[in-house]
């Protein structure tokens, strides 16, 4: 049997991804860089296993971006999208305008003619939706105001591609390029050939149809499909929906990514939203991965090594100029505290739209083939650098801004009471207020300057400073304190302090807030016996209120909670013993909870909670009374 080439290629692509992506993630580089590296390695310049089919693969894989935007749309409430219209059009428009201007200026300075500089400026002002969204969502930065702004701008750029496509022929004319080559542009067909008014009516009609469909009809279709009980048919219908809307928007001359994004938004409140997400997600992931790999494959190292300095300089220049334009845009639209830097670093590359636009400009004669391949390699390299730029943001910029906001000189601490409370946030505030309400004098330390400021306004006397430093506690008078409450959220630091203080002042009484069982055990082991897990009591309370809602009388529900609490305390002693025995086992952070849970459930078998509450049960008395009347 003849084995098709396709199998081998698939094996190569998948193998590369399977090896490099987990490695890259382990090294903290993120999946995008992993895929890119995989592409470089299997590409023509290192292993040479793939290469000829890359362009086709990339076109196919670009569909991953369409799927990604659909998923982003599903996450977005229509009202939220409407609210961000100012940042989409204002910020997005301004960004494209300013970036084009600066880049074109740069081009002019280097010596390219105006029309070429402008065309390159327009093309390079667009960023990479795929890389930026994937990297930001992986780092959980899409909810951050900088990330949201970046998303708005990307959305605008999706729309801006079409005016740019229309502008390029005009630039060609400006450059004095002959009409014949431009003329082919006029042979438009389909939607664009229709009269303007009709176009508008059509777009509005389609929009309305999409909304009606998404709101009222889609639900019935999904229900019908889901009722068949065939999972793959549901997947097929989800794909049909996405591909259908992509095809349709492309047909009427708009970006397919935009079309599916809107389809996603319309379906955001649909009851099958979650189902859609889980069905589309794997396709998106694989296709995007493929897209990133194919970018890695298509980096033209031959070209790079023929002009290494020039290309490096141009890539650096592009990123720098884009950074400046974006930073100014972010600043102007009110991004602060390092968010403007995140925004600018995230979008400082050129994007995949560039590939289409460059080849179009090439056809128009604005760029010659040599210049085109130069721009392409600049685009690709700037894209490949993006994950690195975001790592810089994470390792240098963010810590800098955090330090800057925290850069307040620690207060000079003096003792204001012989009870010390370290950490006056969500937890310490409650414990501390309880003590103060009962007339105790408390010396309060907190390491969050904003928190300190607010609390001072409300008349609390507290000291700002790093509560994890022993000097702070010593200045607060820990030596003679009646009690120290470690209520801060820096769990590991709290253990270190407790260990240090127990050694220095063995008689000091410490009360500690614990994150979970294991944290509590670690305190026990240090000899700190007064430990409270931060969520346990609240969870029991809510559970007990639920019991009341479910039909228990209030007192019955209250007692059920109480019994559970005491039962858990018994279990805790057992668990502590287990923990002491197995402490040396290394438990990975992610497995910690399930490990803990297993232990709890195992121990629970030995203590039955179910027949502990026989109070006021008269069944047995009743039985006896019936048997032997008095």
């Amino acid at each position: 049997m003849e084995v098709p080439d396709f199998f081998l290629q698939a094996v190569i692509y998948l193998l590369a991804a399977v090896i490099t992506v987990p490695l890259a993630k382990k090294l903290g580089l993120g999946s995008v860089l992993g895929y890119l590296l995989a592409g470089v390695i299997i590409g023509p310049y290192i292993l040479g296993w793939v290469g000829s089919e890359t362009e086709k693969v990339m076109h196919f894989a670009e569909f991953g971006i369409v799927l990604m935007l659909f998923l982003v749309g599903l996450e977005m409430q229509p009202s939220l999208l409407w609210k961000s219209r100012h940042s989409i059009f204002g910020m997005g428009g301004f960004q494209v305008f300013l970036t084009t201007l600066i880049l074109a200026g740069g081009g002019l300075l280097i010596g390219y003619p105006l029309y070429q500089s402008l065309a390159a400026g327009l093309i390079l002002s667009l960023s990479s939706t795929a890389i930026v969204l994937q990297t930001l969502s992986e780092k959980g930065l899409l909810k951050n105001s900088g990330g949201r702004a970046a998303f708005s701008v990307l959305l605008f750029q999706d729309v801006a591609v079409f005016p740019i496509l229309a502008l390029l022929p005009i630039l060609a004319l400006l450059g004095g390029i002959t009409m014949e080559s431009v003329a082919m542009q006029d042979q438009v067909t389909g939607f664009a050939a229709l009269p303007r008014l009709f176009q508008l009516v059509l777009i509005l009609g389609v929009g309305l149809a999409v909304i009606i469909d998404g709101r009222f009809i889609a639900r019935h279709i999904f229900r019908f499909v889901a009722s068949s009980g065939m999972r793959e048919v549901f997947t097929a219908s989800a794909l049909l929906l996405v591909i259908g809307s992509a095809w349709f928007t492309a047909k009427i001359g708009l970006s397919p990514a935009l079309g599916t994004f809107i389809a996603g938004v319309v379906l955001a409140e649909n009851e099958y939203r979650h189902e859609l997400e889980t069905n589309i997600e794997p396709f998106k992931g694989l296709l995007l991965g493929l897209f990133f790999i194919s970018i890695g494959v298509s980096i033209n190292f031959e070209l790079f090594f023929s002009h290494p300095l020039r290309i490096t300089f141009l890539v650096a220049l592009l990123i720098t100029l884009k950074f400046i334009a974006l930073w100014a845009t972010g600043k102007l639209f009110g991004l602060k505290h390092g968010r403007q830097v995140l925004f600018a670093l995230a979008l400082a590359q050129a994007g995949e739209f560039g590939f289409v636009l460059v080849s179009f400009s090439n056809k128009l004669g604005i760029f010659n083939p040599e210049f085109s391949s130069m721009v392409i390699i600049i685009i690709i390299m700037s894209m490949a650098l993006t994950p690195l730029l975001l790592i810089i943001n994470e390792k240098l910029v963010r810590p800098y801004y955090i330090r800057r906001t925290n850069k307040k000189i620690p207060d000079k601490v003096t003792s204001t009471g012989n009870i010390i409370l370290a950490g006056f946030g969500r937890f310490g505030l409650v414990a501390g207020r309880l003590l103060m309400a009962n007339g105790f004098k408390v010396t309060i330390l907190d390491s969050n300057p904003a928190n300190v400021e607010i609390l001072r306004k409300y008349g609390f006397k507290l000291f700002y400073g790093d509560v994890t430093r022993p000097e702070m506690l010593e200045a607060a008078g820990v030596k003679d304190a009646r009690l120290l409450l470690l209520t801060m959220a820096e769990y590991d630091e709290a253990l270190k302090i407790a260990a240090y203080l127990k050694k220095q002042y063995p008689n000091l009484k410490i009360a500690a807030r614990a994150r979970d069982n294991i944290h509590e055990f670690e305190f026990y082991k240090l000899g700190v016996k007064m430990v409270q897990r931060e969520t346990f009591n609240s969870a029991v309370e809510l559970g007990s209120r639920s019991l009341h809602y479910l039909g228990f009388s209030r007192y019955q529900a209250y007692r059920a909670g109480l019994i559970f609490k005491h039962h858990e305390n018994e279990i805790m002693h057992e668990l502590y013993e287990h923990w002491l025995e197995s402490e040396n086992r290394y438990i990975e952070e992610t497995r910690r909870f399930s490990e803990e849970l297993t232990e709890i459930l195992k121990t629970e078998r030995d203590f039955s909670i179910h027949d502990t509450d026989c109070a006021w049960d008269v069944t047995s008395i009743r039985k006896e009374a019936r048997e032997k009347p008095e």
Binding site: S553, R554, Y558, W616, I621, A625, R626, E630
Partner: protein, 194 residues
């Protein structure tokens, strides 16, 4: 027309047949405020001032509960300990409850026979209720004869229905002052007056 406050204490109402029915009757009577201590204060935290206001606003106070070890369930005792403060319920200036009436409504597991003088428990129910009677005295209240359900474990459905109708009638008569005072002072159980 008297305003009646029923202070009900039962930690496991879901397990009681007689009290569920008695409560139903009581809630039907106009002019009766029904106050379920275990459902209001499951954590035993009793807001004293609010309870005192409630007492001020009523003329007849009723303690309704099962008889547990010849006394009331713990929460009612806690309530008495906290709410009947010095200078509110007793003491030189504690005259708020003076002239009001107190009545016990109790159920017992044992039959009527065992609470006779000659029975094997040696004390009658009125003797057993002495602490409540004495409390009423100290507060300057009249202690009415109790409403009693004996032998609660062996009650039939018809018995329960009978007691709940009786209870409703007692509450209405108390509300409308329909019991002649001399009968009230001579009766052992208020059940006998209906």
């Amino acid at each position: 027309m008297n305003k009646i406050l029923i202070i009900f204490a039962h930690p496991a109402i879901q397990k009681s047949r007689i009290h569920r029915k008695l409560c139903e009757s009581a809630r039907e009577v106009e002019g009766v405020t029904f106050h379920d201590l275990y459902s209001q204060y499951p954590d035993f935290f009793i807001p004293v001032k609010r309870e005192q206001t409630r007492l001020r606003e009523h003329d007849i106070i009723i303690f309704q509960h099962p008889l547990y070890w010849y006394s009331c369930p713990a929460l009612l005792k806690e309530w008495m300990d906290l709410v009947l403060e010095h200078n509110f319920a007793f003491g030189k200036t504690g005259t708020i409850l003076k002239g009001k009436k107190l009545m016990s409504v109790v159920s017992t597991g044992g039959s009527a026979r065992v609470y006779n003088d000659s029975g094997n428990r040696h004390h009658t129910l009125p003797q057993i209720l002495a602490p409540f009677h004495q409390t009423a005295m100290l507060c300057g209240m009249d202690y009415l004869p109790p409403f009693v359900v004996h032998g609660s474990h062996l009650l039939t459905k018809a018995d329960i229905l009978g007691f709940s109708n009786q209870y409703r009638e007692v509450l209405k008569a108390l509300r409308d002052n329909r019991f002649p005072p001399e009968e009230l002072s001579s009766a052992t159980y208020i059940n006998d007056l209906i």
